[in-house]
Symmetry: D2
Subunit: 252 residues, 4 copies
């Protein structure tokens, strides 16, 4: 019998009322818009999201009936996306892809720190177990985290998270001082993506996958006002590549 | 000459080719499919993603011309999504929403730890600065991180990240032992979402926003094989709510 | 000639002046008190510390001439100490031991979190590579971190670090409410040590070392006002031990 | 009255047996060596440590009767020590000081990362609340963490903690390649201390305390084979100091 704590349980007795308080017209033939009946108006973002999910999955089940069946069996994404938490940068949407195609980590300002086990675990899982072929680290225009790190206002805990950006700011201060505000922001976005690429290139698991099976790392900047992706030239001198391998590669 | 591993090759002479090596037909009237000219076949996931981005943004610019203009000016999402890095769970897609509607953090197995500054910074930024009205923490069926924590195989760094799941496993061991493998997985997904809700409810910034402006926290489970979202009943006894506020609320 | 970059170099030409600006009477026969000549008065805590180091090492070199020689060759401590950063709890001093006898991690309020790679690295190194025979986790009376977590004042970043203590506070709120302020503090110290023991007992490396070679974990409370150590009874029911091993033990 | 939860309570009814199983001759007049009666031989490091604690506190209570009384009332250390977990580097001992004089954080290879809330909390507490006048970051000769980072053997979780050392190794690879093994180790110790000083100098709380009340930061190297401390010249050009303040100082 279905208990409140059993999400795999059979549908409750009254088929028109779901645990989450959404009342749906259960007739698949009609496909009328489900009604949110738990007291939330449709203007509520959460109610709208729930409602849209219902529309989306019904539509997808109709147009691509085999997709959900396939997704139910597992995932085999070829890309790991490391991007910003910013609402304007949903990786699967902006790359025009389907669920199942991109493994994803998103945090404030797409910062990679080589001792952060949150992001490091995503990278390990994607590279070592899912064997993705590409890692994209993607910054974006109008990034709030970048703006914060270019300012000097105390913001709280997030100040600690942004410390690597301030370090980049200091290292490049004379360059940044020659730029106007907009250019400064974009330059910092770029410096941050390059720093992220460096962290990826220093990751022992990434190093191994690059040499053993051709894993590729890409640094991109996404323009939130046009939807356009720009790829940075991140090629390195052979000397740098060698020194990185000497310094970071580890073996059993 | 551009090699497959060199996406940032020098820009070709043809001025209609962009820095990222994608050759586009610049005539907006024709809207033919852009050609990837840097030597990557379209079968390559990265080339396809780049190509699809180009199709997506052109199409969107045509159908909703004001959207990019609006996104270029800023974001004001009403929802923060905390979900799994799993490729089958792209929040904006499965909620049928547009860029700009959901702020997002994704990590392995949507684990929240109350001392992890990566996720804590996302929460702070979303709640304190973007003033989102809803936080969704969403687990999903067939979660690889959950499966790993229910097994006993050494996996590397990720084992450290999964420690909170193993703690949940121990706390609920006698219950889990009564379930079959599938049920066990789903129960752990649920326990993990409930643990995440608890971390959110203990966050001083979340506590303040809940009492001051009605911020809501939601715990969901997403079924990757059907696209369906299920909302958990996370209501708490008043006594628990009180004890949490007494213990976690801080003031200047 | 000594270079600035070589701290192991021979003493500089003028034997009475060291790089650190301390002028010493170099005659070993006299053993007069070295004079701090770099402008710091002896009342300065740093000058005093430097001066005392000089006295200490000369005295030790005389009374136990073989000790430094032995320490120069390596370390083989049998104890790992995990304690508070509090200045009143210097482990080697309060245990009446010599340099070389206790490996040590100290942080605010001797908190152990099972995802904190700072403390986890100390534990791994001590258990797996140094093969210590004992781990002591030691709390202490009058702990400022404990007091902070029992209050509700916003303190900054440290509030995040203290979150596990607030979680303990909530879990034990009804018990704590029956105690007076002093008892409450001591009870929290004890609960925190017990939580630390639990983290240690859940660590896969500790689990293996306990079963394979008898590693022992101890939970202590140090009284800063008397110098006395009290050992907590941390023995667990066999059922708990079993469930922990089932849930946390991992294998290749 | 003593409660089970009060380790500061009076000894239990039978004064010769303590909770920790140590039987002591309770006559203060005799000061005979307490006997460890809980089955541990004195050769056991833990038994010895417990026994030595008893000897130490009795001796100190006699020679400096006011010290424990003073320590029972609080701490006011003037120095924060950030050092290695290595057993040969107990800060209070090697500086010839007493309990109460040095606040202390110790981790593997005295690494400071500007996003590590474990060490950052110690720094905040020491600087902002205890108002220490000096911060010492101290590396040491024969450091196992340094040796590990100069090798290429996979060691486990600790490899992640050591990543900042590998980054230093890469940045200084051509210099390090000119040195023999011993020199290389010492050079890395120095580079690591200098990196730690830089992290401290970039900490907003440290920046404020330096300018407002003259807090001083010191970088030292301790020779475990001689007991000697060497102070590094860490003075910076004014330009660097300025750029750091511009980039890292934050205000309400």
């Amino acid at each position: 019998m279905a208990t409140p704590s059993d999400p795999q349980s059979a549908p409750p007795a009254d088929p028109t009322t779901k645990e989450n308080g959404v009342q749906e017209n259960s007739s698949d033939e009609e496909f009328t818009m489900p009604l949110i009946t738990n007291g939330r108006p449709l203007e509520d973002a959460y109610a709208k999201a729930f409602n849209n999910n219902s529309l989306w999955r019904r539509s997808l089940a109709e147009t691509e009936p085999e997709l959900f069946e396939s997704l139910g069996k597992g995932q085999s994404p070829q890309i790991l996306w490391i991007g910003c938490a910013d609402s304007r940068c949903p990786e699967t949407t902006i790359l025009g892809l389907q669920p199942g195609e991109i493994f994803c980590h998103r945090n404030i300002a797409n910062i990679l720190v080589n001792t952060d086990i949150n992001s490091l675990s995503v990278i390990q899982y994607a590279v070592q177990y899912l064997k993705v072929k590409h890692i994209i680290i993607c910054g974006h225009t109008s990034c709030g985290g970048i703006a914060a790190a270019l300012g000097n206002k105390k913001l709280g805990l997030i100040d600690t998270w942004l410390m690597p950006l301030r370090a980049l700011r200091q290292e490049n201060l004379s360059l940044l001082d020659t730029l106007n505000e907009v250019e400064k922001g974009i330059k910092m976005v770029e410096l941050n993506v390059r720093a992220g690429v460096k962290v990826l290139h220093s990751n022992p698991i990434v190093i191994d996958a690059m040499s053993e099976r051709g894993l590729q790392v890409h640094g991109l900047i996404y323009n939130v006002g046009t939807g356009e992706l720009r790829e940075l030239d991140i090629e390195e001198e052979e000397e740098i590549v060698k020194s990185r391998i000497v310094s970071f590669k580890t073996e059993d």
